[in-house]
């Protein structure tokens, strides 16, 4: 009898994992909420278990319900996908304590990378460059040492609330004279908003690029890289277009980024797929965080390496070894991914609805990863991403040409999506020339 894999997620990534399960002799068991009863991954699975109502905190994020689903169906593996419980160390721990195999990083790695300051301290100890910053200071603390540290880093600086995140509780300070008043202002704001007045200073990067390294580890010290990705086209601090490999990046930077990433992951005997994210500006790169899971944008790395990353992830879980070697991985051509979101293309306001008719793009080097079908409901309960178009070309320009055509072929009738925004970006000169950074959508106006 085949081993079973419980897919503890939904949407396109659930379908992606299910497809890989079929390649590795695993029988896919889908969990789902009441709202996802009719979803494509549920209908494609060998078995399915309803784990709760539509609200994700009562279904997809309910650890006990997922464990019970695995027990009832006698699953051997649990794959958390991305989002939901994928980077929850307690869940990873619980899964293994209950006797299942967690397809992801070990709980200790998730815990280390999930804590910003711990991750930063670890990376610095391994010689990975991090954004220069200061220690945290509370509202009662003396600021004298901070002045000295600020001078050493240099202005402009960013004041960040320790408890903040996603762009909240931040303030740019341009010179020494405003430092005191700005720190106190952010501390007061942080105390009100997060019940914690602690803030720290960080070097302010005005126009960084977002680059990342894809890694795969076997959990015993063997770690491979599957190249770099560029993910600088972002809205609301979320990526919408990704490419592999990054263009206009000096070779020595590329090599250094790969080697520090591999070194750090080998030190913790990293297991599974992972991504180290960096900011890059003025020929310097800085580690920002590590995602200990499969990422939305993994297909662009697959296209240029011809490695099925999710299949490899499952094989590592099955055999505790990576079936390929670094020298077997060759990068060729260029790949671009556009995330299709059910949202207003200009305001980014979420737009749930019913997909009256879907027409997917096609052709050589065109891939459409989506759980959608004609008649599908896109509920307000979950993320707005409804699919990904990925194109592959022999060079970047060919990938762009294919993406333009693919975007023009797509029909999402009945839904408002960001399809037109993608079309405009793919025609814009700075993007086409590969001259862009994370400020792109703030500095270019399309509507």
């Amino acid at each position: 009898m085949k081993d079973k894999i419980l897919i503890a997620n939904r949407g396109e990534i659930a379908l992606r994992i299910l497809r890989a399960a079929r390649l590795t002799n695993l029988s896919p068991v889908m969990i789902h909420s009441q709202a996802d009863r009719m979803s494509l991954p549920v209908r494609s699975a060998d078995e399915s278990v309803c784990v709760g109502p539509g609200q994700s905190n009562k279904s997809y994020m309910n650890p006990q319900a997922l464990i019970e689903a695995a027990r009832i169906t006698k699953a051997r593996y649990i794959h958390p996908g991305y989002g939901f419980l994928s980077e929850n160390a307690n869940f990873a721990d619980l899964v293994e304590k209950e006797g299942f195999i967690f397809i992801g990083a070990r709980a200790d790695s998730i815990d280390l990378m999930g804590n910003k300051s711990k991750a930063r301290a670890f990376m610095m100890s391994q010689g990975v460059p991090c954004i220069p910053g200061t220690a945290a200071v509370g509202i009662e603390d003396d600021l004298t040492p901070i002045y000295e540290q600020a001078d050493r880093i240099g202005y402009p600086l960013l004041i960040k609330a320790s408890a903040g995140g996603g762009g909240k509780g931040m303030q740019i300070v341009y010179d020494r004279a405003e430092l005191l008043s700005q720190i106190r202002a952010v501390q007061h704001h942080a105390l009100q908003a997060f019940h914690d007045s602690q803030v720290y200073l960080e070097k302010y990067l005005s126009h960084p690029r977002h680059l990342e390294v894809q890694v795969l580890g076997d959990g015993h010290g063997q770690v491979l890289h599957i190249g770099l990705r560029e993910c600088s086209i972002q809205r609301r601090y979320q990526k919408i277009i990704e490419e592999a490999q990054p263009v206009n990046l000096p070779d020595h930077i590329r090599e250094k980024m790969l080697s520090v990433a591999l070194h750090a992951c080998r030190q913790i005997a990293y297991r599974g797929l992972g991504t180290l994210e960096f900011l890059y500006q003025d020929s310097e790169f800085y580690f920002i965080e590590m995602n200990t899971r499969v990422q939305v944008e993994h297909p662009v790395s697959e296209m240029i390496s011809q490695c099925d990353l999710v299949k490899l992830q499952l094989q590592v879980a099955q055999n505790e070894r990576i079936p390929i070697k670094q020298e077997d991985i060759h990068f060729q051509g260029h790949s671009i991914e556009c995330r299709i979101n059910a949202e207003h293309p200009a305001t980014y306001m979420p737009m749930p609805g019913k997909l009256k008719m879907l027409h997917a793009p096609g052709g050589f080097g065109v891939r459409f990863d989506s759980h959608l079908y004609t008649g599908a409901e896109i509920t307000p309960l979950y993320d707005s991403m409804i699919g990904k178009i990925i194109t592959y070309g022999s060079c970047r320009y060919e990938a762009i040409l294919k993406m333009r055509q693919a975007l023009s072929e797509c029909v999402f009738d009945g839904l408002t999506t960001n399809q037109t925004l993608h079309q405009k970006i793919l025609e814009e000169d700075d993007f086409v020339n590969g001259q862009y950074d994370t400020t792109y959508l703030n500095t270019h106006s399309f509507f």
Partner: protein, 149 residues
């Protein structure tokens, strides 16, 4: 289907105090339901979404509309879940009878993991709140009635 398997299921179902369990496999479909009592999983209106949504492109906010001498209806600019406070257990952003100024926050709508703040389009008094906390709202649904000052 193996009757032993069904028996085991029933034992587990009771042991873990489940209210409802659906299992589907090529061999068939099993549905277990607890006889009575409060359901663990909320199955009320909240997660039963309307079948059709109105999804025309819209601007940031929908202009308020005059309802016959009662006041101005603040309408939902999107489909989602309405919350009266910024976090569970916190003080509601507005209550009936409260005076609000233009731009003051009145509530939040969560849709697709994004929170959209609903603000007062005019200064006035909160005349009535037409929707319960954590309830689903549709596009253009009246949420709050404001009486202009």
């Amino acid at each position: 289907m193996d009757i032993k398997y069904v028996e085991q299921l029933i034992v587990l179902f009771k042991q873990f105090g489940l209210q409802e369990l659906h299992i589907e496999s090529p061999q068939g479909k099993i549905i277990c339901k607890a006889p009575s009592g409060e359901p663990i999983f909320q199955t009320a209106k909240n997660d039963c979404l309307p079948k059709e949504y109105y999804c025309a492109p819209i601007e940031n906010t929908t202009p308020p509309t005059q309802t016959e001498n009662i006041g101005l209806a603040v309408r939902s600019p999107l489909v989602g879940t309405f919350y009266r406070a910024t976090e569970p257990g916190a003080t509601p952003l507005c209550t009936v009878g409260q005076k609000v100024s233009e731009g003051d926050p009145l509530g939040l709508i969560e849709s697709m993991k994004v929170l959209t703040l609903i603000t007062a389009p005019i200064s006035g008094t909160v005349e009535s709140i037409l929707i319960e906390n954590a309830q689903g709202v549709e596009w253009d649904q009246a949420l709050i009635i404001l009486k202009p000052l």
